[in-house]
């Protein structure tokens, strides 16, 4: 299936739950509310024609200050890059996340790889994932304040750790 057909099929199935659709250079995406995210991803994975059974990537986007963008009703998006192993097509699903309480349901139980990727989105964007077993920072240190990839985090800001460096390795790592 080409991506436009997948988009039409998802729209036909979920109707008004699809908040926005998107097409650029042959690549398509749909945006849904966090509450509908798992239903959409599961349905797409189990549908025989779409069958997007691979989750290639989970990433965040902050649209604070994006030009000419007044009608976007949310600040963040969590982007799921999907791929179908059997059909070889790709598709993108985005969760629209508001500024006030950025929470998205975790999909780590559907795809184990989401565990680390969601931790990265939490670390760098401050979007929480409900139901995640171990939502800790992954790139930045535990003492880091703020979320580095938010648009209002200055790129040249520096932070000092209060733990002496020699004590850092005594901290326990979470078992897998």
């Amino acid at each position: 299936m080409i991506e436009r057909d997948i988009m039409a099929k998802v729209q036909a199935r979920f109707g008004a739950k699809v908040l926005a659709t998107y097409e650029f250079r042959g690549q398509c995406a749909v945006t849904v509310a966090p509450a509908d995210l798992r239903a959409v991803l599961c349905w797409m994975r189990d549908d025989a024609e779409i069958a997007t059974d691979w989750l290639m990537d989970v990433g965040g986007v902050d649209y604070l200050g994006y030009p000419d963008d007044d009608d976007r009703g949310w600040r963040y998006e969590v982007v799921y890059q999907l791929r179908s192993a059997s059909h070889g097509h790709r598709f993108r699903v985005k969760a629209a996340v508001g500024e006030a309480d950025p929470v998205v349901p975790s999909v780590w139980d559907l795809w184990a790889v989401a565990n680390w990727m969601e931790r990265e989105v939490w670390d760098l964007f401050g979007v929480r994932f409900s139901g995640h077993p171990n939502l800790r920072r992954i790139m930045c240190h535990d003492q880091f304040e703020g979320h580095a990839l938010r648009k209002d985090y200055p790129i040249n800001k520096r932070q000092k750790l209060s733990i002496p460096a020699e004590n850092l390795l005594c901290e326990k790592v979470e078992w897998a």
Binding site: V113, L149, I155, A176
Partner: protein
């Protein structure tokens, strides 16, 4: 035991041990913590981020074309592929197609990058297992590839060779012939080193069954590249979503079934061999013509025009000072890097700087499975498995 009647029990607590972040066997800054019962790993966990440099944030502050040298610091074992892939992503965004000769040069440089990536991976992995000879063989050819890069563009490791819309320089006279000669030698050497270890009893005892990534684990963790192919997942972006004319070349996607350290090593050997085949085909069929697209919105004008015509000077000035400005939009572009699918997800606001660049590094998914595959194994197995998964901290932590 002093009075001969009481026996002090042997302490049975589990021993917690840190491996890394700076340890010779981690080949980078990876931190692994294991809980040992004797020498057996009972629990394990890993912590990443020691090489986090804010790559994605940095990309938002520079023009598209200035990301090229920075992208090479992702997978620094086969650097040129990352910048080739970045340019490919930008070209898809701009709907610009580089000339066929530039595409062939990208294939040649990228495949050389894959060969040296695998060569270093296999070489250092075998050093961890106590076999030094292979390492020297492999590094010898890495040196020769660096010499080829140097002749091509003046730099050896971080070459900054491609440009959005093509490549910066055409191959010098005689370079392609020299390539063929070295690739021929390399193909022979790869075969020789493989015979050193393929049926080697010591090597097989150490690696067969060590660090098994099953097919199920590979699928649920979206593992790509040689690690997935060793587990029987025959996914290769070059075959599944061809780019740069990969569909014109005849090559196999080597796979194995076991998914253990041995299979990963052998799959890498076969991939090096296939890469040699691709390079030779690309050189044999390389078309003539320019190496840069003829589009003044993307390509810098020739120096002759910059110095002698007003239009050329203005064009040069505009591209450097105001940058390449793609339309508003978003795009995900995937290529096959040394360790699997390297994806760039770019969002543009119509300006010269990307609004957001998300990199899908293959190592991130590949490494997330690591703590699971070493449980119940010995520390020495963990070291063998770590080397064969080939974690590059530069792209893992970005």
């Amino acid at each position: 035991m002093s009075d001969g009647t009481t026996v002090r029990p042997i302490p049975s607590d589990l021993l917690t041990l840190n491996i890394g972040p700076a340890h010779p066997a981690t080949h980078g800054t990876l931190r692994l913590q294991v809980q040992l019962d004797g020498e057996t790993i009972v629990n394990s966990g890993c912590e990443i981020g020691y090489l986090h440099r804010g790559f994605e944030k940095q990309c938002e502050t520079v023009y598209y074309q200035f990301v090229i040298p920075y992208a090479e610091r992702l997978n620094y074992m086969g650097p040129v592929h990352n910048s080739n892939a970045w340019c490919h992503a930008c070209e898809q965004f701009l709907a610009v197609e580089p000339p066929p000769r530039a595409q062939a040069l990208r294939v040649i440089t990228s495949e050389m990058g894959r060969i040296i990536d695998h060569a270093v991976c296999i070489g250092t992995n075998l050093v961890d297992l106590g076999a030094l000879t292979n390492f020297w063989y492999m590094y010898n050819y890495r040196e020769k590839v660096y010499d080829l890069y140097e002749e091509l563009c003046g730099a050896r490791m971080m070459v900054n060779y491609p440009r959005i819309g093509g490549v910066s320089l055409d191959a010098p006279d005689g370079w392609l012939e020299k390539c063929v000669k070295i690739i021929d030698e390399m193909q022979e050497a790869v075969g020789e080193v493989r015979t050193l270890i393929e049926r080697n009893r010591i090597f097989m005892d150490r690696t067969v069954g060590a660090g098994v990534v099953t097919r199920e684990l590979a699928l649920s963790h979206s593992i790509t590249g040689p690690v997935a192919r060793a587990a029987g997942v025959a996914y290769d972006v070059r075959k599944a979503h061809p780019y740069w004319g990969y569909d014109k070349y005849t090559f196999e996607v080597p796979t194995a079934e076991g998914g253990d350290t041995y299979d990963r090593t052998i799959v890498r050997f076969h991939e090096m061999y296939e890469s040699c085949k691709i390079i030779k085909q690309a050189i044999a069929s390389i078309p003539g013509g320019p190496v840069m697209v003829d589009d003044h919105l993307v390509a810098l004008p020739e120096k002759d025009k910059v110095y002698n015509t007003m239009e050329g000077l203005i064009n040069h000035f505009k591209l450097i000072m105001h940058g390449i400005q793609p339309p508003r939009g978003e795009l995900y572009s995937a290529t096959e890097g040394g360790n699997g699918e390297l994806g760039y997800y770019i969002i543009s606001d119509g300006g010269p700087k990307p609004w957001r660049v998300r990199i899908r590094p293959p190592c991130f998914a590949n490494y997330s499975v690591f703590p699971k595959i070493i449980q119940g194994k010995m520390v020495s197995d963990a070291i063998a498995a770590l080397g064969s998964i080939n974690i590059i901290a530069g792209e893992l932590d970005r």
